[in-house]
Symmetry: C2
Subunit: 329 residues, 2 copies
Amino acid sequence: MRDVARAAGVSIKTVSRVVNKQGEVSDETRRRVLATIQELGYRPSKVARALVTQRTDTLGLILGDISNPFFSEVARGVLDTAQAEGYDVFLCNSDYDPEQELRALSSLADHNVGGMIVFPCWENREKLRAFAGPARPLVVVNRIFEPQPGISLVLNEIRRGARLAVDHLAGKGHRSIGMLAGRAAPLQIMERMQGFREGLQAHGLPFVADWIVADECNSDVERGYRSARRLMAHHPRVTAVFAYNDLIAVGAIQACRELGRRVPDDVAIVGFDNIQFAAMVQPPLTTVHIDKYELGRQAVTRLLEMLNGPGSDLEPIRLDVELVVRQST
Amino acid sequence: MRDVARAAGVSIKTVSRVVNKQGEVSDETRRRVLATIQELGYRPSKVARALVTQRTDTLGLILGDISNPFFSEVARGVLDTAQAEGYDVFLCNSDYDPEQELRALSSLADHNVGGMIVFPCWENREKLRAFAGPARPLVVVNRIFEPQPGISLVLNEIRRGARLAVDHLAGKGHRSIGMLAGRAAPLQIMERMQGFREGLQAHGLPFVADWIVADECNSDVERGYRSARRLMAHHPRVTAVFAYNDLIAVGAIQACRELGRRVPDDVAIVGFDNIQFAAMVQPPLTTVHIDKYELGRQAVTRLLEMLNGPGSDLEPIRLDVELVVRQST
DNA sequence: CTGAAAGCGCTTACAG
DNA sequence: CTGAAAGCGCTTACAG
């Protein structure tokens, strides 16, 4: 910048004014400065600017696993929207591990990101509340948090989605409905669980704790496979399952195939998320649709409101879901 | 930092020494400083540090589309490896658009990232050569570039993969083999094209330009669907196709289903990448396997070598591929 | 319309 | 083992 100023015969301040298009600069001076910038290939340092302004044009996105198609679709929405507004985004996997999530959170905070979007582990609930603040805005996606300055919510109607799934299965005549609950994290899946329970109740069906199976292995598909095998081995009279997400449902389909149980004739399966491949597996998956791209888009929109806005209290953003019926039920 | 120094009764420099675990500090002083840091909740600013050291602990990853399972698996490898080495990573979608790619490149450069990993559009080949340099290390993945300081290559044996696909189809007795080439970008797909061509030649089969179909629409699956329909409408005697990637192959399967052409009986299809879902579509896809996670891991490893290393010339890293035979052929 | 000075929060030689 | 000074590359009041 100093070099540019010297070469153009102006002060550093004037160069700054030209670069930032602010303040009055005579046309001729501007032209000269711009030409010099071109010539010298000068690029303003975002780092230096960040140091003095105390803000960066960066955001953070912390999610469980980018290789899960649900998250990668959300990420696409986040990236497109952020980029359109001139922000670059840091991406971190938490691998669903509270420790890693915390590390990501503080590392990004140290980078002075403008704000973060996070799909938090339920174990970090309290720490997140302490971490967030007006100076460190957080958008929390699909987890319920009490209102608090610095935290804003973007939510899908998860409970309603679970309810739709059960309604559908009950409508098909199923009386013994199990659930593949993903990992054993009662609070995290509470919404799905609540909707599931409400649905059973509404149809006068039994809620049997043993028919709710979780598994702690690493990949979602594998987890679905293992928990489905377990469920079907111990409780063969269960004729329908509601899966935590589509990957788990896919694992369940594989388990059924191996055990010689036909889908949907012997066992009906409903997934969640409606990832791109839900329509392409065999049989095509009945599932609860979430608009993942829109989820990412709204999260960024909300985060930018918090960054620029007057710090007013913002209502949670609620996004609808809908049941997509295919051949697995 | 000044506050910590004051509260601990030492100089700023001593605090810096403690934070960075460098230089000699008496145990007692260190303890006192550490305690003060805890108490005040002091966190060193990465921005300020970056300004003076002229390096950040950040990397950039620029790819076509994070919602493509191929890229999201690569991203997982990149993220895990970078994080283990203490780096955070910026993620950018180019959407396969040269302009967007360039914007991402320069935006990240302005953020002073340590280096970038990029799957470049072939149109940007020359600009990339000008952009990269010892101070701006680039790892280019799966595109051939001449050796140049500041650019290092990580490559899969793409040509060999294409060759394997053709060998397999020829071995099954197919004499009329077409290709679904993705988007019309001759250079970008040169490697696949070369392997395809070599394979045909080796088996004495015709290379027919009209049997190579591209399409410019947005999503890969859609592109596969449309180009497959076009190919089969105009050239019904083609009995086998080699697809640019698995998403395109999946689109082709859909097209076949609609046209009433059975896979593999009427048309055999080979994909590329072996994404997670290749095994789960119907029929399960024969495809060329790439270790995507490893690709990401190696790219980061190489990038860090360039960052820390003595600037020696580094040979391209070559990763093998293999054919996975399933039921689509 | 333009400039000189101070300062963002650190690290890097250089002294002691 | 510890400290005072300079400076990274910008922006922000404040003058003129």
